[in-house]
Symmetry: C2
Subunit: 308 residues, 2 copies
């Protein structure tokens, strides 16, 4: 199936949303966040900025913006919801990088937060970003109907919590044998929670903001699940076949840890076939939107075929 | 000023709310929280239960319940909001106890969570409780008006975040000289953020739930600030004069760390005088409620005069 969005147009849209998200996060994390009369805990603010600003594809905010565009939602509202989601994503990276968790020293070619600052500051900056997300997602500018903002808020809590991302990270550590014997891993479920839940949230956020019909909501939910799984399989494939320079991190990490991944479960050829099937599912889910789904179709391809 | 609530009545009310909160948290943290089709990350659920169940005075939920009672708010709604606040409180204790933070081994006479489990589980259980709080606080049962739930949610994020509790913890660590030279400490501001913000939230939650007038809201805000400061001064005094057995923890810790506290700033007599002044402020703030403020008046005394 061909998509109506050229790779050039897609790249431009992705870049524009990344730029707008960067500017919005910079403003949300500026000192004006705190009322004047309160002493400013500068160190934690700086640490939050260090981990949230300075790039990245901003894929999750992009999904919020583009799923919102399907319903003609105001861009400013979608960007704000996307920024809240990005705060959750950034906090999860900070906490996952800690010595007690994955013990990572580099992220995007820079020292991880706890290496740049210290563990206490990293824990607090993560807690601060997680909490800030729930401050942002409730704001009046996101939607005039408070019920819509509440739905967005609760869905964000569910995607991020123990039934979503936090739970997925726990299953991942258990599967690595961190708490005794390796626990058996259901890769698809683990990844649905650990990385899938936030990506899927990005896709249903537009349906919530756009007050979609049940059928439209379900379509974006199906699309989001397919995209989330394709994202993770691509990640697992990059760890085996990717270019360390392009990735900005070592490859072969999963094998070194003896991790169960989509590639160990399906093999390389099987994993690639599964990605292809998932792209078909994503396209099928979007069919009810016709041409309005073109950018999301391109997004699924981008996620599946990315080189970093 | 005499209070219309006898110490026996007060103790009964406090115990009853603690029991109800315990039962509610146990149900919120039961396995039914996760949909059946999702693998249960049992370890993190157990860790969340270990740290949230099994006692404590549940002072913060009590404040939510009693400030709500002033306006005739349904007890079930207040208990739910109180449980959300308690989740935030419990998460903060878990993260504060970590080796990278205060490195505490005991809490309420039991091993702290990271000693009972491990650091990774403690970080995730804290993240899980923090996120769960925002799931709970948005629930329909809390109030029929979504605007009220949104106000409660945003106020909770503000009280917990870098302008509140998280920021206060950072200032506290900086004041201990954890990041180089000891930074100068404004004790009143630090404690307004670190411990005061959540206690104050407990007091204004009733005003939000009860859709109070601006004047009534302000009264509970003033009361909450006075109570929060009195709580902390009492804490500082207990560290100097308290009974380690009754407290269930070592005394003299602040002096050992060379911390700036209300006692080092005001002296023992000055600190006691300040508590007395704050109780006067709390009473004055409650005067517009007449007899409806009796239990809150007793709560301020309880907080100021507690032995543990």
């Amino acid at each position: 199936m061909t998509t109506g969005t050229s790779p050039q147009d897609f790249a431009k849209r992705l870049d524009k949303t990344a730029e707008d998200t960067e500017a919005l996060l910079a403003s949300l994390l500026s000192d004006t966040l705190l009322p004047d009369e309160i002493a400013r805990p500068r160190r934690v603010m700086e640490a939050m900025r260090y981990s949230s600003l300075g790039g990245g594809k901003r894929l999750r905010p992009f999904l919020v913006v583009e799923s919102s565009t399907v319903f003609g939602v105001a861009r400013e509202a979608a960007l704000l919801a996307g920024a809240a989601l990005e705060c959750i994503h950034c906090y999860s990276l900070i906490h996952d990088d800690l010595p007690a968790m994955d013990n990572s020293e580099l992220r995007r070619g820079r020292p991880t937060l706890h290496k740049k600052y210290d563990d206490a500051t990293a824990i607090l900056a993560g807690d601060g970003l997680l909490t800030l997300a729930f401050d942002i997602i409730t704001r009046d500018e996101i939607h005039s109907d408070p019920t819509v903002r509440l739905l967005l808020t609760r869905a964000l809590a569910r995607a991020s919590g123990i039934g979503g991302m936090v739970g997925g990270q726990m299953l991942d550590l258990a599967g690595e044998g961190r708490f005794g014997d390796r626990e058996p891993v259901d890769v698809a479920r683990l990844q649905q929670m650990k990385t899938g839940a936030l990506l899927r949230y990005g896709c249903i956020a537009g349906a919530i903001l756009g007050q979609a019909t049940t059928q439209e909501y379900q379509a974006l939910d199906d699309y989001g699940r397919a995209l989330g799984e394709a994202f993770q399989i691509a990640d697992d494939l990059l760890d085996v076949e990717g270019d360390a320079a392009a990735l900005g991190k070592q490859t072969g990490q999963d094998a070194a840890l003896g991790k169960t991944t989509f590639v160990t479960q399906l093999g390389i050829a099987g994993a690639k076939q599964r990605v292809s099937d998932l792209l078909g599912k994503a396209d099928a889910a979007l069919s009810i939107f016709g041409a309005r789904g073109d950018v999301l179709r391109a997004a699924a391809r981008f996620v599946a075929e990315r080189k970093n």
